[in-house]
């Protein structure tokens, strides 16, 4: 369905996702902030599996680690897991309608968050409850908007 991708779109969207992940967000809504970088890893691994894979996802995760001041490698590992899971399902993913894709986004971003929180727990962070899964839900909703927009940009510029 989409055989062309545009490298400028890829680079710019990834940089924007990094900026958004530290940019201002209403104080009370902080825990609902979507996982922008994970979404980008999902999208680009899904659309361009030969150009964007586990290693790229890992590098992006390391950058996010520096931005979030988590121990280096925590987000890197979680991003790599997401990229791997997308690589295993991306051929089926293309057949799915958008809603079904967004459910998968929820699952994978949730796995990403769980891995991050699991490692933080091992390292001694104390974060009670399951609120850390909210970003997975908001990311899934955002996917419905983000995927068509990026597809359109790819078709136009690629």
């Amino acid at each position: 369905m989409l055989s062309v991708i545009s490298y400028p779109v890829m680079i710019v969207s990834v940089i924007i996702s990094l900026v958004l992940s530290i940019s201002l967000f209403p104080q009370g809504w902080f825990e609902f902030r979507p996982e922008w970088v994970t979404l980008m890893v999902f999208y680009w691994t899904y659309r361009a599996p030969s150009q964007f894979g586990i290693l790229t996802a890992f590098v992006l995760g390391i950058l996010l680690d520096v931005l979030e001041a988590t121990p280096l490698g925590v987000n890197g590992l979680a991003m790599a897991v997401v990229a791997f899971l997308v690589l295993t399902v991306h051929q089926r993913l293309r057949m799915f309608p958008l809603i079904q894709q967004s459910i998968l986004v929820f699952l994978l971003v949730g796995i990403n968050q769980m891995v991050v929180h699991f490692i933080k727990h091992l390292l001694g962070g104390q974060t009670p409850g399951f609120e850390y899964l909210w970003p997975a839900a908001t990311s899934a909703v955002l996917w419905l908007l983000l995927c068509p927009v990026l597809d359109k940009l790819n078709l136009k510029l690629g």
């Binding site: 940089i15 990094l18 900026v19 894979g53 520096v66 121990p71 490698g73 590992l77 791997f84």
Partner: protein, 314 residues
């Protein structure tokens, strides 16, 4: 990669390089090594600050919307408002200047008295004004990013103040920015004393931005609601005497060995935009125009600066 090259004659739809399982294993092992090296042995600080320096434009862009709205607010503010604000600020400046004059005399007197008591003269702390340019995207960690870094002489461990009290300490530095751990983070503790009677205790953050916890205070200790807690300077990390928090509630439970005491931080942790980086060690290099050293008297200031410079070279 191999299949990609094979597909140059016939364009395949699903090109994919390498074996993903093997790569994942490689990345997992690499991440585990990195995490252990970083979290347990602190070996990756240079790498982290190098990456953070590369990411400086991202941090700058992340803060751009706020700067733009500030600029926009500045542009559309009516002239009368600016004028009246200017007047108010001038009046405030005069009051503060008068207070500073009085303070200078007091500080000089204090130093003389300390000399009499054979104690070492306490230097006036030098401070650098910095601006908060970002907050941690993780809602469970209380950290902010300020726009002064290793280039400005900031080092990990320095205390950060705002206009009202102690805010936190520097966690990491990059070339142009530093990351500050706030006193309300659940991994943070400050040694404090009660201003009224000098009772010492440890003030812990508990992940709540508006509440801190004073721990291990015995049932019989003399502490009341409204007591001001100032940093005690024990432990050598925070300078002595800066206000940290005010006791807001004391709950005595019969049978428990310690009282549960909550305190409200003095510093406006989630709202302050301008902060002060404290250089309490003498001899740290600071650009001349940036720091604000208040000499108690000109001769006294000279005397205070002398030993500090020698200490830096030695």
């Amino acid at each position: 990669m191999l299949s990609g090259r094979g597909g140059s004659t016939i364009k395949t739809i699903f090109v994919q390089g390498g074996v993903p399982g093997f790569r994942l294993l490689f990345v997992l092992v690499l991440s585990a090594v990195l995490i252990v090296a970083d979290a347990r042995f602190d070996r990756l600080e240079p790498a982290r600050s190098a990456i953070a320096s590369v990411l400086a434009p991202v941090l700058w862009l992340g803060n751009a919307p706020d700067r733009f709205s500030n600029w926009f607010a500045g542009v559309i503010t009516p002239r009368e408002d600016l004028l009246s604000e200017n007047e108010a600020l001038k009046a405030r400046l005069m009051i503060l200047e008068r207070r500073a004059l009085k303070y200078g005399a007091l500080a000089a007197e204090n130093n003389r008295l300390r000399d009499l008591m054979n104690a070492s003269a306490t230097l006036d702390d030098r401070v650098v004004v910095a601006e908060v340019v970002g907050v941690s995207p993780d809602p469970f960690s209380h950290e902010v990013v300020i726009n002064k870094g290793a280039r400005d002489g900031v080092e990990a461990g320095q205390a950060i103040l705002d206009a009202n009290g102690l805010m936190g300490q520097v966690l990491y530095t990059a070339a142009f920015t530093s990351r500050v751990l706030l006193i309300s983070d659940s991994s943070h503790a400050v040694p404090v004393e009660v201003l009224r009677n000098g009772l010492r205790a440890i003030l812990l953050g508990n992940g709540d931005i508006s509440q801190l916890e004073l721990v291990h205070v015995p049932d019989t200790a003399d502490i009341r609601e409204g007591d001001v807690l100032v940093s005690s300077g024990l432990g050598g990390r925070f300078p002595k005497g800066y206000p940290v928090a005010e006791v807001s509630s004391i709950a005595k439970e019969p049978g428990a060995p310690f009282v549960t005491i909550h305190a409200t931080p003095m510093a406006r942790l989630s709202r302050s935009k301008l902060v002060l980086v404290v250089f309490s060690e003498a001899g740290t290099v600071v650009p001349e125009e940036l720091y604000d050293q208040q000499p108690p008297g000109s001769s006294n200031g000279e005397a205070a600066a002398g030993p500090g410079d020698n200490g830096g070279e030695g």
